[in-house]
Amino acid sequence: MSALRIWAMVLRYWYLLRRSIPRLLDLFYWPAVNVVLWGFLSQFLASNSSFVAKAGGVLLAGMFLWDVMFRSQLGVSVGFLEEVWSRNLGHMFVSPLRAHEWLASLMIVSIFRTFLGLAPAVLIAMVMYHFSLFDLGLPLAGFLANLMIMGWWLALLIVAAIMRYGQGAENLAWAAAFVLSPISAIYYPVAVLPGWLQYVALALPGAHVFEGMRGVMVDHVFRPGLLMNAAALNLVYLALSGLVFLWAFANARKRGALLQLGE
């Protein structure tokens, strides 16, 4: 693995981002709109719901953390789509760039995009609603890391699907996170879900993260076990999605899809 090649690809995405006002606005726009929406809703519910009143900001924290997962996933999958849209995959993969170096660059860019995009929203929440995500304390680092990784493995599956099924599958980049959101227990406990669906939810790292987040915010207890569960699940899913990606990449080389994608 070459750090210099990874850096070259990071620069490639930075060049694209810094000169594109629509892409920069896209980074900031949705988190900012979301925080305003969920902030007002939280204020309303705080005076009408004992659960929200007990833990001010629990909805906003859920929104922020889920957005971390979503932005992390978008950072990787849209980075891949940028190459498809510019029909650059052929040039990339006749260079010495290896698939895992490219993925590493996409992950680095996704971290940068996520935090750049969320920073203004975090400030808005502080100023308008007196809510600071940093009140979660040290566990916040664990929550963020797990959700970033969840975003990456989800993105790998999406990229694999696009390589296998073509650009018809590109909507997955935006839709996949929404499919997972109801069963990730972002805004309500896992116990609210029907019994069988609870098993599905607990098979996802996100549900453990959000249970952990509510533990800190509502019960004022940090449960490391939940974080460990999330980390273990993430490791398994990251490994599996990596294998799926490699299979899809090899399959694309068999079918000549690296030359055809984007046409």
């Binding site: 070459s2 210099l4 090649r5 850096w7 070259a8 690809m9 620069l11 490639r12 060049y15 694209l16 000169r19 594109s20 940028e82 190459e83 510019s86 029909r87 650059n88 052929g90 040039h91 990339m92 993969f93 006749v94 260079s95 010495p96 760039l97 290896r98 090899a250 080389r253 068999k254 079918r255 000549g256 690296l258 030359l259 984007g262």
Partner: protein, 261 residues
């Protein structure tokens, strides 16, 4: 014209054996074998659908063959292509560079991927040699087709490749620009000893650049030889007439006169 050094060198840069690529039931490339000697400039000719692009994609490792073997610069391109890729490069008008990056940014990214020493100096050299200094700060997407061809060629030369694969290297260029590019390629091959494999429909270009020609038809290599040798063998005046003979009908070529593929 470049000297034909094919037979002066024994080092094979490319060795292809019984290479086949099937797409479904159809064979795009059907059991071809050939070698390309170090320092030679070889043309890959054939009509649309002859299998040229598929062959080049397999040589680059972008496409995995159905069967057969490809060795490039000593590396098995199916299993160990990353051993050869740093020393190769490729340009095609049919594969783009990112449109929203400037020419300099695009070349800087590829200089980084090939770990080029002093990338700024290399980009400046290529911009001067290929006559696109005024384009360096322009978005790649805003360039004309001919300008893109020159920049794509610069990308292909960024790592000073030992093996250069070119698909239609002067497509979309006006005669003056095309002539400059050919001159540059001739000089590059001559001064560096690089090997080139050029797929082209431009017979003037092929005659001028290539000392050796591989002619493909329907997934097979149907003939091989020097441009002049082929013209004489087919009893024609020009290479274009030879090309038409082969494209339109099965040529009658005495077995003993065929060069070893």
């Amino acid at each position: 014209m470049l000297p034909n050094i094919l037979h002066e060198s024994t080092q094979k840069i490319i060795t292809v054996e019984a290479l086949t690529k099937n797409f479904g039931a159809e064979a795009a490339v059907d059991g071809i074998s050939f070698t390309v000697a170090e320092g030679s400039v070889t043309g890959l000719l054939g009509g649309n659908g002859a299998g040229k692009t598929t062959t080049i994609a397999m040589l680059l490792g972008l496409l995995i063959p159905t069967s057969g073997s490809i060795t490039v610069l000593g590396a098995d391109m199916v299993r160990h292509r990353h051993r050869a890729l740093p020393f190769m490069n490729f340009a095609s008008p049919y594969i783009d560079l990112p449109h929203r990056l400037t020419v300099t940014e695009n070349l800087a990214v590829y200089a980084g991927l090939y770990l080029v020493d002093q990338p700024r100096q290399r980009i400046a050299e290529l911009a001067e040699a290929l006559d696109f200094i005024p384009l360096l700060q322009r978005d790649y997407g805003s360039l004309s087709a001919g300008q893109k061809t020159r920049v794509a060629l610069a990308k292909a030369l960024i790592n000073r490749p030992r093996l250069l694969l070119l698909d239609e290297p002067t497509a979309s260029l006006d005669p003056d620009s095309a002539d400059r590019i050919r001159l540059y390629l001739q000089e590059y091959a001559h001064t560096t000893g690089a090997t080139m494999l050029i797929a082209s429909h431009n017979m003037i270009e092929v005659e001028r650049l290539c000392g050796d020609l591989l002619i493909m038809r329907r997934g097979h290599i149907v003939d091989r030889g020097t441009p002049q040798g082929l013209i004489e063998r087919y009893g024609r005046q020009t290479l274009e007439e030879v090309f038409l003979d082969i494209a339109r009908a099965e040529p009658i070529v005495p077995d003993e006169s065929r060069a070893r593929l």
